[in-house]
């Protein structure tokens, strides 16, 4: 089973001081850059298009196509912005990648900027992860010193400057247009579209915004060829991706595998569920993706497979919960997160999350009524697809999916007059054999 792993991005993570330039180059780093600089920018775009790489930030938009939207006849400067504002509950792939191998990202930034003809690129890193910001800053400095960045890179005549920007602690800034607002020094709230960032993004100029993992995948595509990349994964979800397993699993962590792998295989790779326990529910791509249950263990983890199951592949943030976990409690915690992170711009998300938390909190305490479940679903219906950006949609996913699969558990709270679970049983410090 172990051969299902396809370490590319994570291949060098185990190396000594893997984050240094020396270590990265020792493992073949920056070879893709030299190849790319010898290609025409359009050929780089074509290679990424041919590879079938789809955005790794969750939405799965074809990366090469996004680059192709940049109007090259626009006289304004072009910008590449890397979305490293990884804040989704459960998502933990970009931050480890930037910690372990920041140069993979930097090399990807240079090649991608070269392809779209940007002379300035920004890496917008979540503000709370200061250690990561420092590590990427150090990598960028190393890249400058080595001539990978700056003017006339390796004699190619191509110039690129990279700015590492620290966010200020807002989940909404992971939304690409809110990120641009934040980058411009304004309040982080999503922008009206159109115009789309490809036409008028950062400083009203053509801008490509890509996830860290998408950009980090580019050097390997250039170095090994589009066919190599497309040979992995499934028909419409090509290549590999980092699957982050967290929760009640024996060896949580980042598992890099072709898209289309199943959760059952991944759990096996991770040493199975917590000893003595069984999978109860899981999220395929962070808390914003509708949750699934043990009956979905064998679904292919690719964009199509997850969509078919009524959820989304998202960021492949697989949060696993065993039978000790109260789904109402978990969903309430997530909802509290969305309430806290709602930017406030639009009514459904701002007011809806405020109300959802109150309704859920009453249910958890066993104070609600059965009709409150219908009220919750109606509130979700009034938020989903009515809010300004996807944050509001994401806030409804755990609620509506949990009611779909665990309605009885909600009702049990009402019958029990409170939560029937022992909250300590789900913790890592639970005594062995703790029962739900």
């Amino acid at each position: 089973m172990v051969d299902t792993l396809t370490p590319v991005l994570t291949a060098n993570w185990g190396a000594e001081r893997s984050w240094t330039l020396a270590s990265y180059e020792q493992h073949g780093g920056y070879a893709g850059l030299r190849t790319a600089l010898g290609m025409a920018p359009d050929d780089v775009i074509a290679a990424v298009k041919d590879s079938g790489l789809r955005g790794r930030g969750g939405a799965g938009f074809p990366t090469g196509m996004k680059w192709g939207f940049i109007p090259q006849d626009n006289p304004k400067p072009k910008y590449l912005v890397v979305n490293a504002d990884e804040s989704e509950p459960g998502t933990c792939k970009d931050i480890p990648l930037m910690m372990a191998s920041p140069h993979t990202l930097v090399e990807g930034v240079i090649i991608s900027s070269y392809a779209i003809r940007a002379n300035k690129a920004f890496i917008y890193i979540r503000g709370e992860v200061l250690h990561v910001i420092r590590r990427v800053q150090a990598a960028v400095a190393e890249a400058y010193a080595a001539g990978h960045l700056g003017t006339d890179i390796h004699g190619s005549g191509y110039d690129l400057d990279v700015v590492v920007h620290a966010g200020a602690g807002a989940y909404i800034c992971g939304e690409e247009t809110a990120l641009l607002e934040g980058l411009e020094g304004r309040r982080g709230q999503p922008r009206l579209r159109p115009p789309f960032p490809a036409v008028a993004g950062l400083y009203a100029s053509p801008t490509v915004i890509n996830n860290v993992e998408s950009i980090a995948s580019v050097p390997s595509i250039v170095a090994n060829g589009a066919d190599w990349f497309a040979s992995m994964g499934t028909e419409k979800s090509k290549g590999f991706g980092i699957f982050s397993l967290s929760g009640h699993v024996t060896r949580p962590g980042q598992y890099e595998a072709p898209l289309g792998i199943t959760l059952r295989e991944l759990i096996d790779l991770a040493g199975g569920m917590r000893a003595g326990h069984e999978l109860k529910f899981w999220t395929p791509g962070g808390s914003s993706t509708p949750l699934l249950t043990a009956e979905h263990l064998d679904l292919p983890l690719d964009f199509e497979g997850m969509a078919e199951a009524g959820t989304m592949l998202g960021t492949r943030a697989l949060q696993l919960f065993d039978e000790t976990t109260c789904v109402v409690r978990a969903v309430l915690r997530w909802t509290e997160f969305y309430k806290h992170e709602s930017c406030g711009k639009c009514t459904p998300c701002r007011e809806g999350t405020w109300w959802l938390v109150q309704t859920l909190a009453r249910l958890e305490k066993g104070e609600g009524r059965e009709e409150d479940l219908d009220l919750l679903l109606d509130q979700c219906d009034n938020i989903l697809g009515r809010s300004f950006c996807a944050l509001g949609d994401g806030a409804t996913s755990p609620i509506s999916s949990s009611i779909k699969f665990f309605r009885d558990e909600y009702l049990a709270h009402l019958a029990h007059g409170g939560c029937p679970f022992d909250p300590a049983a789900s913790t890592v410090f639970a005594t062995a054999g703790a029962q739900a």
Binding site: R187, K345, T347, W355, Q358, F388
Partner: protein, 818 residues
């Protein structure tokens, strides 16, 4: 509601039409129309909060969601769309709440969310009764709150906080639609309010040291769709349904802004912006909005008074008199005084101004009349006759719309933000859409900065040279797509008005005069000038005199061109003129306040018409209380030449319009054998007579320009630049302390080099002029013309002319400590 008003006139260029189907009704609307506006065309009002036709779309409140089964490409949107951000597309099919359950449920859902954290304190809220949230909750919401029924807990805030001395914010009521912040940013250019915090805690806030000080802040209160923003002046004063609303026209500047006066039991409670797309759109200045209390102050004159003159055996004091007695005493006194002159301030309605103009000619037999209670010049008089009189939007005069379509607008002697608020806002919008603004001014003021103006650095007095240099200055590119706006202050700069006319003539640019006061432009039309009769008829033109005389039914009119205000003052002092009829003039505004006061004292007989007791009424022999703008019908002609008629809002039992007073005097004079009676007593009669008289269709006097600009004024010291700030010590701003608290502080501005050259050190400067000295905080302005000091004209208790310097004189600077 904020439905889009239809423009009533103006050239509509051929626009591409798009056919869409809304609720099953096909409608053609101009390309790029937003769905929410297109729906209005088929009679469907989609509920909305953040949407405002004059603000950029934001799509924040989500109240206007509609179902779009076909976006015009055969495919529908899977989710309801915000109709305020969605432009129409050919073949688009839209179903609103009227026909779509999806849209209706979406709207009901958003409305329910909006009320989650809204306090529902409608019974004590100022907005209750005229509240879009209240109204639309009724039309598009549910009757019972599921939030409250399920035991929901609302987010609360401490009750209102001040955003400025005038504007308060009740954060609980706010639905954060961002109308106010967008107005402040997009329209006024004063982005001192902004969103802070997030989620349900999101609120409107100000920076600690930067309150929402904007000349246009009151507009945010009016466009707030809930009761979150209130004014100190109006909050808790009345309920909307107790108010009677009357449309009117603002009397504080020459913009002619439409306003709505709301009154209750004979008292004005508040004023709101009217909606006139051609003029002020939906915005007015805070002065127009809040400065109305002057008409109801304690010192308002309540009855006519006559002086028991010592020479007639009286004690020399004013005593109350009946109207007939006052008319008779005034007429007898004027008849006995010999030569009589007329001074009117710039605040008259056109009908009143006409009455003064006619009184001078047919009753007093003189052309000694001038409305310019401010520094003026003979050149200005000629300029007004040649380039201003008779211009109307219909006859090719510059309009607000022209400011927007102009490629370049040149400003000379005009600070629009202070002196013409609606012009400023329109220029700002023009500038945001690419119009270039060139400002002939000594420094780039904040107002000019908001117009992205390019400064043509010019010392006071050097405007003529600066304008002359523009004729062939390639960089400035003044041509037929340019509009030149000159302010009344240009009269004090020799040759400047002529140079502006010359610039327009040689480049094909269009020219307009923007005075400060509401009555100035109308007074030109009405003939309140020594060389102009009503309707632009030149006194010097015999045919014009005959034309007017025939219309008025008198044998002839005085031939000698009259004296202007300065000459009238001089003639009174010299004893050449004995009688004076004066209406609404503050001596402190006149070019030489001391001389004006001396002239009043020297006059043998003074008849004063005024609202409140003033230093003129105190020395007058007969005093008539006259009606304030709100108490009479009238017309202001705005800077465009557009007639802005208004009707009386409130009755005034104790005051008459000026024209009625003058008619009474003229009738008594006629009885004494002096001239003819005016022949009218009401505003309607004056309007009919003015229409009858019509405009002069004969030859217009030309403005002879000297050709050569006068160049830099020389002399010791530094040049004095000054104008009135919008909110200052003006008599018509009296009575609202909250408005007064929003005034910009008085400071003296000068360039760093001038500061250094004057060897100043502290934070204050004393400006010394030929009439006194003034100590103000000093502000160094980089880029300002050297050897110039700017001070506000009337922001420190009295006027510059009174306390500092004579017009055009130079001043010196010395260090000071405040």
């Amino acid at each position: 509601m904020t439905s889009t008003p239809e423009k009533t006139s103006g050239a509509q260029p051929d626009v591409e039409l798009v056919q869409v189907t809304i609720d099953g009704i096909e409608v053609s609307v101009p390309k790029d129309t937003l769905v929410i506006r297109a729906a209005e065309q088929v009679g469907v009002q989609i509920p909305r909060f953040c949407d405002h036709p004059l603000l950029e779309p934001v799509g924040a409140c989500r109240q206007c969601l509609v179902d779009v089964p076909d976006a015009g490409n055969g495919r529908g949107f899977p989710k309801p769309q915000a109709s305020c951000t969605l432009p129409v597309a050919p073949g688009m099919v839209v179903n609103t709440q009227a026909t779509s359950e999806v849209a209706d449920k979406a709207q009901q859902g958003v409305m329910e969310f909006l009320l989650v954290n809204h306090p529902l304190d409608c019974p004590v809220c100022d907005k209750g009764g005229e509240c879009p949230l209240q109204n639309q909750a009724m039309s598009n919401g549910r009757g019972e709150s599921r939030f409250t029924a399920s035991g929901g807990v609302k987010r609360t805030f401490p009750k209102p906080i001040n955003l400025s001395p005038q504007v308060l914010l009740d954060r609980e009521r706010c639905i954060v639609c961002q109308r106010c912040t967008r107005f402040a940013d997009e329209i006024a250019g004063d982005p001192f309010i902004a969103l802070v915090e997030r989620g349900a805690q999101q609120q409107i806030g100000i920076a600690e040291s930067a309150p929402f000080l904007s000349y246009f802040s009151g507009n945010t209160i009016q466009i707030c769709p809930v009761g979150a923003l209130t004014s100190e002046s109006y909050r808790f004063r009345s309920r909307p349904f107790d108010l009677v609303s009357t449309p009117s026209v603002a009397e504080h500047d020459a913009c002619g802004s439409a306003i709505r006066v709301d009154h209750r039991r004979g008292k004005v409670m508040r004023r709101l912006a009217g909606n006139d797309p051609e003029v002020n759109e939906e915005w007015i200045t805070d002065k127009d909005r809040f400065a109305f209390t002057y008409a109801g102050l304690e010192d308002r004159l309540g009855y006519p008074q006559v002086r028991d003159r010592v020479e007639d055996g009286g004690d020399g004091s004013l005593r109350p008199a009946s109207w007939p007695e006052a008319f008779a005493v005034a007429a007898r006194g004027l008849a006995a005084a010999g030569a009589t002159a007329v001074l009117t301030g710039g605040r008259m309605s056109t009908e009143d101004a006409y009455a003064y103009a006619k009184l001078a000619r047919v009753s007093l037999g003189t052309n000694d009349i001038d409305f310019r209670a401010r520094p003026h010049s003979t050149e200005e008089e000629r300029f007004l006759a040649a380039h201003v009189a008779l211009g109307t939007p219909g006859s090719g005069a510059v309009t607000y719309a022209d400011l927007e379509s102009a490629a370049t607008v040149v400003l000379a002697g005009l600070e629009p933000e202070d002196e013409a608020g609606a012009v400023f806002l329109r220029l700002r919008r023009a500038a945001r859409h690419g119009t270039r603004v060139l400002a002939v001014a000594p420094y780039l003021s904040r107002g000019l900065g908001k117009l992205s103006a390019h400064l043509v650095p010019t010392a006071p007095g050097a405007e003529a040279a600066a304008l002359a240099a523009m004729v062939e200055h390639a960089e400035h590119g003044v041509d037929a797509t340019t509009v030149v706006l000159v302010g009344e202050r240009l009269a004090t700069s020799p040759g400047a008005l002529g140079a502006a006319a010359e610039l327009a003539a040689r480049t094909g640019a269009r020219l307009a005069w923007v005075p400060r006061r509401a009555g100035d432009r109308g007074a030109v039309e009405a003939g309140c000038l020594p060389t102009l009769l009503p309707g632009g008829r030149p006194v010097a033109d015999a045919a014009a005199r005959v034309d007017a005389a025939a219309s008025w039914g008198v044998a002839s009119l005085p031939e000698t061109p009259g004296r202007d205000a300065d000459a009238i003052v001089a003639a009174l002092l010299a004893g050449e003129v004995g009688g004076l009829v004066v209406g609404g003039v503050d001596p402190a505004d006149t070019p030489d306040p001391a001389a004006t006061r001396a002239a009043l004292a020297a006059a043998s007989f003074v008849v004063a018409l005024d609202l409140r007791e003033t230093e003129v009424t105190r020395v007058a022999d007969v005093v008539f209380p006259v009606a304030a703008a709100v108490e009479k019908a009238g017309t202001f002609v705005n800077w465009e030449g557009r007639a802005r008629a208004f009707e009386a809002v409130l009755p005034s039992p104790s005051a008459l319009p000026d024209l009625r007073v003058l008619a009474g005097i003229s009738e008594e004079l006629a009885a004494l054998g002096r001239g003819a009676a005016l022949g009218f007593r009401t505003v309607d009669e004056v309007r009919a007579e003015m229409a009858d008289l019509g405009a002069w269709d004969g030859e217009r006097p030309a403005l002879e320009t000297t050709g050569a600009a006068t160049g830099q004024p020389a002399g010791e010291g530094v040049a004095l630049s000054t104008w009135k700030q919008m909110i200052d010590d003006g008599a018509m701003q009296a009575g609202d302390k909250h408005l007064a608290a929003t005034a910009r502080p008085a400071v003296a501005r000068l360039s760093p080099a001038t500061y250094a050259a004057a060897a100043l050190s502290g934070a204050s400067v004393t400006v010394v002029g030929d009439r006194g000295e003034l100590t103000l905080p000093v502000e160094q302005v980089p880029g300002m013309v050297d050897d110039v000091v700017w001070v506000p004209s009337a922001s420190f208790g009295t006027s510059v002319l009174e306390r500092l310097a004579s017009p055009g004189s130079r001043v010196s600077l010395k260090g000071a400590s405040l």
